[in-house]
Every structure is written in C-alpha cells, then in structure tokens.
C-alpha cells in the first residue's frame, strides 16, 4: 500500500484520468475532490460493508420468532404505544429552543 502525505490543495493522480485533491482538513476529517470518468464507480467504502450487512439481514439463518423468544426474557415490557413513539430518543429536545 502506498501512503502519501498531501497538503490542502495538493492532489494525487491515479492512472491516466483519476485525480484526488485534498480540499481541506478539519480535525480528523479530510475533504476530498475526486475527478474521474463517469463510468468509474466511487463509493464511500462503508457503503459496501453496509450493503453486505443488509444482504445478511435479508438472508436470516433461522426464523425471527426464535429471536422473539430470546429477547422476551430481558427486554423491558413496554406498553404498546403510539407507533413510532417508543422508537424515539429519550430526552426529546425542547422544540421551542
């Protein structure tokens, strides 16, 4: 693996027609500009791992009902609420602020 240091405004060229330019660095975050032909697929790498996780989620190895049995023992018995209400963060922000 090639490791390079680049300053803001500097770039690297990959092959004949792909250029990656560092637009800026803010703390742990780098802003990159990528110039490449239209047929080159550019993805944030975590999208690929996220898609793989979804693929596995779509192909369950056993029935979710087994999961139901497993969680029934240790999840708090929440009374049925309005749909979506129990899926909100606690300490809801004051909307007037």
């Amino acid at each position: 693996m090639l490791i390079l240091q680049r300053k803001t405004g500097e770039s690297v060229t990959i092959g004949e027609d792909i250029t990656v330019t560092v637009l800026g660095v803010d703390g742990a975050r780098a802003r990159l500009a990528i110039s490449a032909p239209k047929d080159v697929l550019i993805l944030r790498s975590e999208l690929i791992t996220a898609a793989a996780a979804n693929q596995d989620a779509a192909n369950e190895e056993t029935t979710p009902l087994e999961l139901l049995e497993m969680i029934a023992g240790h999840t708090p018995a929440v009374p049925p609420a309005q749909p979506f209400e129990q899926n909100r963060m606690k300490g809801k922000e004051d909307s007037t602020s």
Partner: protein, 153 residues
C-alpha cells in the same frame, strides 16, 4: 390491498401504511416501499420491514432504545433535510438485525439505523458518522450483562 408477506401470511394494508424509502436500503436501492410490521408479543421491540414489491424480502428490525436506552443517533444536516426534519430527535429509529443460527449469535446494525419521519412516513437508512456504533453488534451483549436495572417508570 393485499400483500403476501414473508412472516405474516397474507395481510391487508392501505396506502397510508406504506413507508417510503426514496433511496431504498443499502444494497437494495430499488426497494422503495416497505410495511413496518411488529411481531406480536414483543411489545414493539421486534419488527419487520416487509417489502411491498418483493414478498420474499423482509428485514428483521429491532427497537434500538429497548436494547440500549442511551442510543443517540445523530444525522448529518443533509440527511435531516431530505427527511424533512430539523433535528435527529424528530425521527423514529429502527436497527436491522442479522438473524443467525444459533440465534444467540445474531447481530444488530447500530451504525446504520433506519430513520423514519413519523409525520410523512418517509424513511432513510443512514450511516452514522461515529465510531461509537458497530454494524454487527452482537445481540448477546445486550442480554444479561447486568447493565440494566429494574426500571421504575
């Protein structure tokens, strides 16, 4: 309308029951409509995103706050914008579950929750910009770890 579902047989649903995913789910970008169906007896903890267009496609989902009360997803401004809300607190969250055999090996994706705007029923799966949450968090770790005290409501 009637729909053959993966886990619930044939069900009746209306247009108003549909959750719309303009961008689909990661890896399932062409799936834009799902029904959110709770498994009976789970008190809303275990649910299922059933695809409207593909009967055989369903994702098992859980309420992340039942697993981890301190769960605090923070969306990026553009994500909030496309969901039509101003704050991450305006949304409901579900995490997708990989159901393994044995079932104790199952994992949940805390890093990529499905965020739902309850008012518009528009939904989007996001990748949280944090290292606090994993894509494959073992469900067993939430179990009898003893972190949860008997809660008085």
């Amino acid at each position: 309308m009637k729909l053959q579902t993966k886990y619930f047989g044939q069900i009746d649903y209306g247009q108003e029951d549909i959750l719309t995913f303009p961008a689909g789910l990661f890896g399932f970008e062409e799936e834009h409509e799902f029904l959110l169906l709770p498994f009976e007896g789970s008190a809303g903890t275990l649910l299922c995103f059933q695809s409207v267009s593909t009967p055989a496609l369903a994702f098992t989902a859980m309420n992340p706050f039942a697993l981890m009360p301190e769960y605090a997803p923070e969306l990026q401004t553009q994500e909030l914008h496309s969901l039509g809300v101003e704050s991450s607190h305006d949304l409901a969250y579900y995490v997708l579950c990989v159901v393994k055999k044995p079932v104790a090996d199952s994992t949940v994706n805390l890093k990529c929750p499905v965020a739902v705007n309850p008012d518009t029923r528009q939904a989007q799966q996001v990748i949280l910009d944090t290292d606090d949450y994993e894509m494959r968090h073992p469900l067993a770790q939430f179990g009898d770890g003893g972190t949860r005290e008997a809660s008085a409501c």
